[in-house]
């Protein structure tokens, strides 16, 4: 097959992007990826010489907002080029072809580029009954299992593909499962968030392209470059946290001064994401900056850690407002009552022993250590 694939750089130059812009893009990406300045050269070189990477992007049980987030990638040339530097051969939201013609597009990639293509997945996979998600008459599970067989790596977009997200929240009626619980034997990058930040998505793609290997992942499969710090540790309201200045109710004096949202249930202290650093939509803001507590959207099972406006989750089976403290306090009172009751009981039952005092002190012997 002598299908000359132009490198990313050729592609970009062909698109009328100047070398200066190109280098700027590489520098930005290097910064996102937390590279030393020498890393920029590596990115430049990679993008100048590598052919476009074939990508198949599946949609399963999802809301398409990972796709929506993806197209918000904000560095000037990212929106233009992310489409051009990878070869997005199957992507239901964006692709021209439908039906049979669409299916042929990804089958062609699988046949033509075994071992070379990337499978990106948006959405979870139902397991309760495979018919809960079908495309072209085949189930999500069948499609995924077939497609990953010869792929190079899998990118799991968002909380859906990484952890099951909202449809996996209790009682998970469809038995929704994330990608890493369905497939095995292939590296899976969990790009967490509901959705992930656009620039994080772009950053992961660039990492794959540039270094030709998957980024370093944390223990939950998330790229360390974007998920190694808690939202809390990079939050601009952190000074208020340390100072003990908290919003007590929405739009109160504290809220108007940008106090910490911890008491409104902020999950920043238990959530790993780049919201405080990269921020959203070209660095405009992020949930906490807009006055709403973080709901923990890049964490596994965050939907069941509610209610959202409470610092700690409710205890299952005790109603929505019952925290550990309420139960603890109840048990504390019960214990105090029990102790008091026992003391009274003792005074009645053991009256004899209590009043039966020793006759003389002389009857005790000299001390002797054992």
């Amino acid at each position: 097959m002598e299908n000359k694939q132009p490198s990313f750089y050729e592609e970009v130059r062909g698109d009328g992007i100047s070398r200066k812009d190109f280098l700027k893009f590489c520098a930005t990406m290097a910064a996102f990826l937390g590279l030393e300045s020498s890393g920029i050269g590596q990115i430049v070189k990679a993008l100048e010489t590598k052919p476009r990477l074939p990508v198949i992007w599946f949609h399963f049980q999802e809301c398409t907002c990972c796709s929506e987030s993806f197209i918000r990638a904000s560095h000037p040339i990212v929106a233009d080029i992310v489409l051009g530097k990878i070869s997005l051969d199957y992507q239901e939201t964006l692709m021209a072809a439908s039906g049979v013609q669409a299916e042929e597009a990804y089958k062609a990639v699988m046949a033509k580029f075994p071992g070379e293509y990337i499978v990106m997945v948006e959405g979870s996979i139902p397991t309760e009954n495979e018919a809960y998600c079908c495309i072209g008459g085949r189930s999500a599970k069948q499609i995924l299992e077939e497609a990953v067989q010869n792929c190079k790596a899998v990118v799991a977009w968002g909380n859906c593909a990484s952890a099951g997200c909202v449809q996996a929240a209790s009682p998970n009626p469809t038995g929704a499962k994330p990608v890493h619980k369905i497939i095995s034997g292939k590296p899976v990058i969990n790009v967490q968030g509901c959705p992930p930040i656009a620039d994080v998505m772009a950053g992961v793609v660039v990492h794959l392209l540039t270094f030709d290997r998957i980024p370093q992942l944390d223990a939950l499969g998330r790229p360390k470059a974007f998920y190694s710090r808690r939202v809390h540790d990079t939050c601009y309201r952190r000074a208020n946290f340390d100072a003990g200045l908290f919003v007590e109710s929405f739009d109160d004096e504290g809220a108007k001064k940008g106090y910490c949202l911890y008491k409104m249930g902020c999950k920043g202290p238990v959530t790993y994401n780049s919201c405080g650093i990269i921020k959203w939509n070209d660095g405009v803001s992020y949930p906490i900056q807009s006055g709403h507590p973080c709901i923990g959207c890049s964490e596994e099972g965050f939907w069941d850690n509610g209610p959202f406006y409470q610092h700690l989750p409710s205890i299952a089976g005790f109603g929505i407002e019952t925290t550990a403290d309420k139960i603890g306090l109840g048990l504390g009172v019960a214990t105090a009552v029990g102790v008091a009751g026992h003391a009274i009981y003792t005074n009645i039952r053991k009256k004899k022993e209590i009043t039966n005092a020793p006759e003389t002190a002389s009857e005790t012997e000299k001390p002797k250590a054992l």
């Binding site: 809301c63 939201t93 021209a96 439908s98 909202v166 959202f308």
Partner: protein, 558 residues
């Protein structure tokens, strides 16, 4: 002989939609639409804190992101008797407006345009002629010969790479494409512009709700505080940014979207202005309150139903009337405790899966029985079309001057009668006209917000009923919103401070649903009947009509 054609997946939509058509002598004689993915979000909501519901239902869809969240907070507020401060109402309007503009622009260019625009033909365009043409229809500055030359070159390189990516296997060269190469080239250029631009207007969500997609909402108001003397709140800088974003949006819509829409429509009006009309009933819940959500008369978009295309009468909607809105599951993969014949008002709604279709992999669905995850909603038993066309028609029929003005001027520009609205093209045009109106409304709301703040009102939250202790033992609520794709309603039953039942009846549920017990088709199926198809194996015509509704199946099923 009737031929059965399956189109699955339908792409350039949100979600998983399967359409099967029967073609007889080059014309569609029957059609079925099926939603093939389900998540069970209504079930998941049971037992949760009503104040959290906005986040869950927000995840129903990331394309019409925020619209379910808005509906949810309205629903809970309706149940608990909360009215939000005027600033909160205005900020919610601004966020909804931003969504309309972004969603409609993305739909037109990214999801719908390729049905009308032949990308490959754009390679044959003469950039100089393209530039002249572009300048004759719009004042948009990016229209030089050099600009179009660059775009064309970009695409040429792309095509020559042999890796066509998202454009692979498109229907390029199909006889139904009618645009001259120059118009195609303009559209291709603006496809890229739109993709680049759409990420700007959503920053309105980021400012007020912290992110997009899936901005944050709050029962009782909005999460952001206004404090013009503070760096940590909505202040002059943030407000100025919002103003600028809407002004730029208006420019983009006036100078790019509307001229392109009219240019493209002028080449297709003769046939597609009469194809794909489908149902004759249109419904709008109305939206954009100017004097509180509980006062529908103050809405920018009026509420009402049009039956049988009779624009002289608008019927009143009462969502809490158990006889008006009902959902059926006779053709959907669910069980009702009272059987398949009944329709349930959503307060009594049930969501219990019962998949009876073929085991995947399968070639065909069996349409003699249940065949979709979409339920079938009816208004007084009538199937309804919802969406921008319905809104424009209800607005037009109610005689609102701003609606009359945009509709009449578009009809005049295209030289078509008002009946041309009842078509595939009419639907697509209505969406554009509505976007234009939305830009104006947004700037109006923006001014009102500034005026309020200037007058010393900075409240954005009503905390009175925040604590569950202040709630009644039982409460029921309804929230109604005009989502980008049409009339959206949520229904809640709250008991012991928890969600007892939560049901969503969604625009695409109305439009994409399977048949009701009387065998009546819903909008998608009905609109396909009678459509001529040049080559049944290359379903371009089907895509045109289906895309004109802007399907969202994640919404429809949820």
């Amino acid at each position: 002989m009737a031929e059965r054609i399956v189109i699955d997946p339908i792409t350039r939509i949100e979600g998983h939609l399967r359409v099967e058509i029967e073609v007889t002598n080059g014309v569609i004689t029957d059609a079925y639409s099926a939603g093939t993915m389900v998540r069970g979000i209504e079930t998941i909501l049971k037992g949760r804190d009503p104040r959290d519901a906005w986040a869950f239902v927000g995840r129903v869809c990331g394309v019409c992101t925020s619209t379910h969240s808005l509906t949810s907070v309205r629903t809970v507020e309706n149940a608990l008797g909360i009215s939000v401060p005027p600033n909160a109402e205005l900020i919610r309007n601004l966020m909804a407006n931003a969504l309309y503009i972004q969603d409609h622009v993305v739909h037109f260019y990214v999801l719908h345009a390729l049905d009308w625009v032949d990308v490959v033909s754009a390679l044959k365009a003469d950039p100089a002629a393209t530039s002249t043409l572009a300048q004759s229809i719009s004042a948009w500055p990016k229209s030089s010969v050099g600009y179009f030359t660059d775009v064309q070159k970009k695409f040429k390189n792309f095509v020559e790479s042999g890796q066509l990516g998202i454009f692979a296997n498109g229907y390029w060269g199909h006889s139904a494409y009618k645009l001259p190469p120059e118009v195609n080239l303009i559209a291709v250029a603006h496809y890229l512009e739109a993709l680049e631009w759409q990420k700007e207007i959503v920053k309105v969500h980021t400012i007020f709700g912290g992110k997009n997609p899936h901005p944050n909402y709050l029962v009782g108001g909005v999460p952001c505080s206004i404090n013009i003397d503070e760096a940590n709140a909505v202040n002059a800088e943030r407000l100025a940014m919002v103003g600028k974003l809407f002004e730029d949006a208006k420019t983009f819509v006036d100078q790019v979207y509307i001229p392109d829409l009219l240019a493209i429509a002028s080449f297709y009006k003769s046939d597609w202005g009469a194809i794909g009309g489908g149902l004759t009933n249109y419904m709008s819940f109305g939206d954009f309150p100017t004097n509180g959500y509980n006062n529908p008369d103050s809405f920018k978009i009026p509420r009402g139903v049009i039956l049988n295309r009779d624009l002289s009468k608008i019927h009143e909607i009462k969502a809490d009337d158990p006889e008006q809105i009902q959902e059926y599951v006779n053709n959907s993969w669910y069980d009702y405790s009272k059987g398949d014949k009944v329709g349930l008002h959503p307060w009594d709604g049930e969501t219990k899966f019962n998949y009876t279709g073929p085991k995947p992999p399968y070639d065909h669905l069996d349409f003699s029985q249940k065949y979709s995850w979409v339920k079938t909603p009816r208004w007084k038993g009538y199937p309804m079309e919802v969406g921008p066309l319905s809104r424009m028609l209800v607005g037009y029929a109610s005689g609102k001057p701003e609606f009359k003005e945009v509709v009449d001027s578009a009809l005049k520009a295209l030289d078509v009668p008002v009946t041309a609205l009842f078509s595939t093209l009419g639907r697509t045009a209505a969406r554009g006209l509505e976007t234009k109106l939305t830009c104006d409304w947004a700037l109006e709301f923006y001014q009102s917000l500034l005026a309020n703040i200037k007058n010393g009102d900075s409240r954005t939250m009503n905390n009175e009923k925040w604590e569950p202790a202040s709630w009644p033992k039982e409460a029921k609520g309804i929230g109604m919103v005009e989502a980008p794709r049409g009339a959206l309603s949520h229904f809640i039953v709250i008991k012991d401070k928890k969600i007892e039942n939560y049901q969503l009846v969604v625009p695409t549920t109305w439009n994409a649903s399977p048949r009701d017990p009387a065998g009546k088709r819903s909008a998608y199926e009905e609109s396909l009947i009678g459509t001529p198809v040049a080559d049944p194996k290359v379903p371009l015509e089907v895509l045109r009509t289906i895309h004109s509704f802007d399907p969202c199946l994640a919404c429809a099923v949820h």
